[in-house]
Subunit: 344 residues, 2 copies
DNA sequence: CTGAAAGCGCTTACAG
DNA sequence: CTGAAAGCGCTTACAG
């Protein structure tokens, strides 16, 4: 196809179409001001030659890499998997590509690892997942070399830095409301670790729901946990061995809810017959146990799609002071009602 | 730093170090034949300027992109997550970057999606995971535009195409041996779907182990399954309602083993007290249920590391006909013994 | 052991 | 609406 036998270049297309390379470039980049017949002729040749502009040349000349970086430190394979699913699909639709890099949140050479990626690849933007999106060192490194970022579910929003998240408070409120609507009154909460903001948010939602229904908040029914299976099991043992045990437990995440299931099984308590259990996250395991867990699904893939869009299209930067406008997006979650909850 | 205020370029480094850009290039690419004092001087400037060669320029001039592509169609988030973990780390060590693309195995524009990635990015190599690594269309597209590939756990090896896998037969044999050594004699197998080669391999290993111990292979104890939770639960109900039920069940994957656990629980059978259960895969869920599953861990991250190495370093292509030598690598798996198996 | 020149394949100003 | 020129920042031959 090409003059020298390799893949066709923009020169080959231009020659074949009888136009200048500049015109080919205009057509390919959807620039306005090209006569339709010219455009058609060019596109026909592009098609025939199966021509694709080379990213490295575009990047070098144009200063855009069409690369989006995804930085993560495996919080859970499922989370990253969904992020990627959403991000790669949206990238493809927009003509971008996703480069992933897994870092250790406490690696000594974190800064260098980031520099290496950013300075070598010059991604047009970066998506950060927890806990990296809350790491000051990471944020500083990226800000210094001017790479636009979007934070996914950060602990707290940062003024001027775009983010996407779900509403943990509201979701926890909804799932607690579900338990209440099922007739439960003695509802226990297994909390998350205090150093994660999601813990406080979910607890807040839980308390909100109880108060809205005039149900007393019993501190005895709020057990600490650490988002692990074991901590959930231990907390459940505490709760279920009380003289007046709860009829429902809301665990702040699925792993702990699985621990509750295990504890109930040990104690010979039937779920959901004698105890309703709800989790949070819709982890892959949630649907693979018996009874399948009622839980909340985070819109992770959608958050990732949104993050890509914010990076590619930019965001309104002309906002009044204090008006973060579209900078911090909150996406709708989904209540997933399965077999672990029942009227009680 | 730079002459024009942007990031420093090779010209800035050369000027500062008092050498030609060619010498800087030599140092950065570890080419031999540079005087040590010259090398040191260059490296010092590189350090001071925090200079990193721009990938797009290197790629355009040198014909190598330092990009490895990972093509997948979510077989399971856990698998892809481990692949990525291993691949990104090894890429970083070798100065490469990982670009991921999630495809649909039966997408109508599969060919275009691949062309788009390959022709635009020109990755130096591509890693394919199941089921894409067994898709003739995918393989043909990649072969046509000359992109080197490594197949991860393909159904069957292809002559001339590098692959990395584990030994399913041997692993199944080992886990069956474990059950036998625990004293079990009536051991059931829940098979995988016939269209996946892993199913046959795991069954083969199961049979091998029984025969090696002179235990009769009872066809009644080999139930069909389809690698899903439900199929495992159904098969277990069949097996456990027999007059003479098995004392151990080897499910060909973890999802089905979880189904067995659910079935046993329904039937009031204690695991591992009255029934031992073993799975295969070491899925994230395997450790998050009670009792935690005894299973086999695939060396997924290691396979990914190996795949990257095969792509970066190439493989011996000067082999005698028929001798695939290092082209098809088999990595060691790991038996993970947990709580679901016990003497019986 | 070191360097000057050409070129990779695009896009960006700048003209017309 | 279209094009000729310059240049992005490197590496590849080719010299010396």
């Amino acid at each position: 196809m090409s003059a020298r036998g390799g893949s066709p270049t923009i020169v080959d297309v231009a020659r074949e179409a009888g136009v200048s390379i500049k015109t080919v470039s205009r057509v390919l980049n959807h620039e306005p001001g090209v006569h339709e017949s010219t455009r058609d002729a060019v596109l026909k040749v592009v098609e025939a030659l199966r021509y694709r502009p080379k990213q490295s040349a575009r990047s070098l000349a144009g200063g855009r890499s069409f690369l989006i970086g995804l930085l993560y430190y495996d919080p859970s394979a499922a989370f990253v998997g969904s992020v990627q699913q959403g991000a790669t699909v949206r990238c493809r639709e927009l003509g971008y590509h996703l480069v992933v890099e897994s870092l250790h949140n406490d690696a000594p050479d974190l800064r260098q690892q980031i520099d290496r990626m950013v300075l070598a690849l010059r991604p047009d933007g970066m998506i950060l997942t927890p806990p990296l999106c809350d790491n000051p060192e990471v944020l500083a490194a990226l800000r210094e070399n001017g790479t636009p970022c979007v934070l996914m579910s950060p602990e707290r929003d940062i003024v001027g830095v775009p983010s996407v998240r779900m509403d943990d408070v509201h979701a926890a409120e909804e799932i607690t409301n579900l338990l209440i609507s099922l007739g439960h009154r003695r509802i226990a909460l297994i909390k998350g670790p205090p150093d994660q903001s999601a813990s406080a948010a979910r607890q807040q939602g839980f308390v909100n729901a109880l108060q809205a229904h005039d149900i007393a908040v019993d501190p005895e029914l709020m057990q600490p946990g650490s988002f692990t299976f074991d901590s959930g099991r231990d907390a459940a043992h505490q709760l279920l061995s009380r003289r007046q045990r709860p009829t429902a437990v809301f665990a702040s995440n699925d792993d702990m809810a699985l621990g509750v299931l295990a504890a109930a099984q040990r104690l010979g308590l039937s779920v959901p017959g004698e105890l309703s259990v709800a989790g949070f996250d819709d982890s892959p395991t949630a649907a693979l146990v018996w009874p399948a867990l009622t839980t909340v699904r985070q819109p992770v893939a959608e958050m990732a799609r949104t993050a890509v869009e914010m990076l590619v299209f930019g965001h309104k930067s002309e906002l009044a002071p204090g008006d973060d406008g579209e900078l911090h997006k909150v996406l709708a979650h989904e209540l997933v009602v399965r077999d672990s909850t029942r009227a009680g």
